[in-house]
């Protein structure tokens, strides 16, 4: 058994710094590279891509990335674990195998974790008595069934552990928890018992710290952010894990950013609910038990983590089409920038009303004044404002109303208040709104499957 392993975070979301994974595998020693690509809305986008082309439906940045890092990973024995398989992990693995072949790599085992996509057997699930009730509203999914775009179960670390045990060099999953990606190599390397919930919680907490990339190593830091060194070359976080569950969060030397008590603490409180019950498929972690020790030199020890037995259900994330939205903006300059923007908003709203268009919501915000803090924004002296951007967003089930909304923006330039600019790129177009439906499903109703694809 290894006395420690180093797990590197390579992406905090799909669209994160392209070079981050390459830097993680080349700028210092690591054993694993983990990458989280999936947000709730991502699954529905991928599902739509797959419906148009059955060979798509995964994070398309991934094959390009693998082309760059695969030779390094093979040379150094670094394993890659990612949920970038989206709704089509097999096609993703095939694309990577093609790349490996072109790179003349001799041996490569890619594991795929599937079984999370329950859209096709939703009727069976409902028939068995599970109505996939919305966790927020308690509503049954039955009336929304025909509108569903995607429905995926969040698996945890265990299918990835199986993949590693079967010799995988790369593990591509569909919907897997971000934390499971990091916990899995610890279970595998240290032979942890899956019923030792303190250890499961320790790895889960490390996963939570890694899952948003540089957000724990100095990025988006609300403390003394001005003192963060060299954000341009920010180092992504690395979890140095030990068999007893201790984890040291660090980053490669000669990279920018910072790993400190404060930067790690900020990530710990990110997107959590009740801190005593951080629920994953692997355990229920108690974030109030975590101890942090700042060791200096960009090293923070995370220890004493306590956990409890996992629940008997998985979380399910469904999405369904729910009408359309559009956003428009115009920029007004000094003098009286805010007054002009407010007047334009009033004129536009009257025109929309006169046209009898149907909207579920019209929302106006003044960027430069109150678009982030709303009523908490302090009053401003009009004479000191250089410019204000008027931002108007609308939502409707009626596509035609939104199309017409898009035609009413540019006319404001010649038929409204003066010194206005910023209308480029044509009319605002209606975008499909994908609503999100969180639910629970008994674990016994779904079975994760692991398949190994070998280089031929």
């Amino acid at each position: 058994m290894k006395d420690k392993i180093r797990i590197a975070s390579g992406q905090g979301f799909w669209g994160d710094l392209i070079d981050a994974p390459y830097n993680q595998v080349t700028k210092g020693e690591v054993d694993y590279l983990v990458m989280d690509y999936l947000a709730e809305v991502t699954m529905s986008i991928l599902q739509k891509q797959k419906m148009r082309n059955p060979t798509l439906g995964y994070a398309r940045d991934l094959p390009d990335l693998m082309k760059r890092i695969l030779p390094v990973c093979i040379e150094k024995g670094i394993k890659v674990i990612t949920n970038g398989g989206g709704v089509n992990p097999v096609a993703c693995a095939d694309a990577i195998l093609d790349i490996a072949m072109n790179l003349q790599i001799k041996k490569l085992d890619i594991a795929v974790v599937i079984g999370d996509d329950i859209r096709s057997n939703i009727d069976e699930i409902i028939f068995s008595g599970c109505e996939l009730k919305n966790m927020d509203t308690g509503e049954s999914i039955v009336p929304y069934k025909s509108k569903l775009v995607s429905a995926n179960v969040y698996f945890g670390a265990l299918p990835i552990v199986e993949a590693l045990q079967r010799g995988a060099d790369i593990v591509i999953t569909g919907r897997t928890t971000d934390t499971g990606l990091t916990l899995a190599p610890m279970i595998y390397e240290f032979g942890w018992d899956k019923n030792n919930y303190d250890l499961m919680a320790a790895g889960t907490v490390a996963g939570h710290i890694l899952e948003c990339g540089a957000q724990s190593s100095g990025g988006n830091f609300l403390g003394d952010w001005k003192s963060i060194d060299n954000m341009a070359e920010i180092g992504f976080p690395i979890a140095e894990a030990y068999p007893n569950g201790d984890v040291i969060i660090t980053k490669h030397k000669n990279t920018g950013g910072r790993v400190s008590f404060e930067t790690v603490a900020e990530q710990l409180v990110y997107e959590i609910g009740d801190p005593t019950s951080y629920i994953t498929p692997d355990c229920v972690a108690d974030f109030t038990s975590i101890k942090l020790e700042d060791l200096g030199n960009d090293r923070v020890r995370v220890y004493n983590v306590k956990g409890k037995e996992a629940t008997d259900s998985y979380k399910v994330s469904c999405s369904y089409a729910d009408g359309y939205s559009a956003v428009a903006s115009l920029t007004y300059s000094w003098p009286d920038a805010l007054t002009k923007a407010k007047a334009a908003d009033k004129i536009l709203r009257q025109r929309l009303a006169n046209l009898n268009l149907k909207f579920d919501e019209i929302r106006t915000e003044f960027v430069g004044y109150n678009s982030t803090h709303g009523p908490l924004a302090t009053e401003i002296d009009e004479d000191k404002i250089n410019e204000i951007m008027l931002r108007i967003a609308v939502r409707s089930k009626d596509h035609d109303s939104l199309k017409r909304f898009g035609m009413e923006i540019a006319p404001l330039i010649l038929t409204g208040p003066p010194s206005v600019t910023g209308f480029a790129g044509g009319r605002p177009r209606p975008n499909e709104v994908i609503a999100y439906w969180p639910a629970l499903i008994p674990k016994k109703l779904v079975e994760p499957q692991v398949k190994i694809l070998e280089l031929k």
Binding site: V41, L222, E262, E266, V269, E271, R363, T372, V433
Partner: protein
């Protein structure tokens, strides 16, 4: 003496569906005593009047000198439904740091 919360604490916020989570971390033990005492559920709800339209939940993490607030019914529907410029509540931690506390 009055102080801005910004001077004794930092934090981070994000989305959980239509709810926002706001985590606030004091820089030292003295600061934690202040936020623990003064950042009550009621005071935070009042602070976010017009932004948070639902209940406020409050949790303590004394181990990292932090409080976590869940602001229900805050993000205009959340996710891709929300029309808000800050649909994910990313700037709400900073918004809470505007609050004045007694030292």
């Amino acid at each position: 003496m009055k102080k801005r919360l910004l001077d004794i604490a930092h934090g981070r916020s994000g989305d959980k569906g239509d709810a926002a989570n706001v985590g606030i971390i004091a820089y030292d033990d003295k600061g934690y005593e202040i936020i623990k005492k003064q950042l009550t559920k009621e005071r935070v709800k009042e602070h976010f009047k017009g932004i948070c339209l639902g209940e406020v939940e409050r949790y303590e993490l004394p181990n990292i000198r932090a409080l976590n607030f869940i602001l229900n019914n805050t993000l205009g529907g959340g996710g891709t439904v929300s029309l808000k410029h800050d649909a994910q509540g990313k700037t709400l931690a900073a918004a809470l740091l505007r609050m004045e506390v007694d030292e």
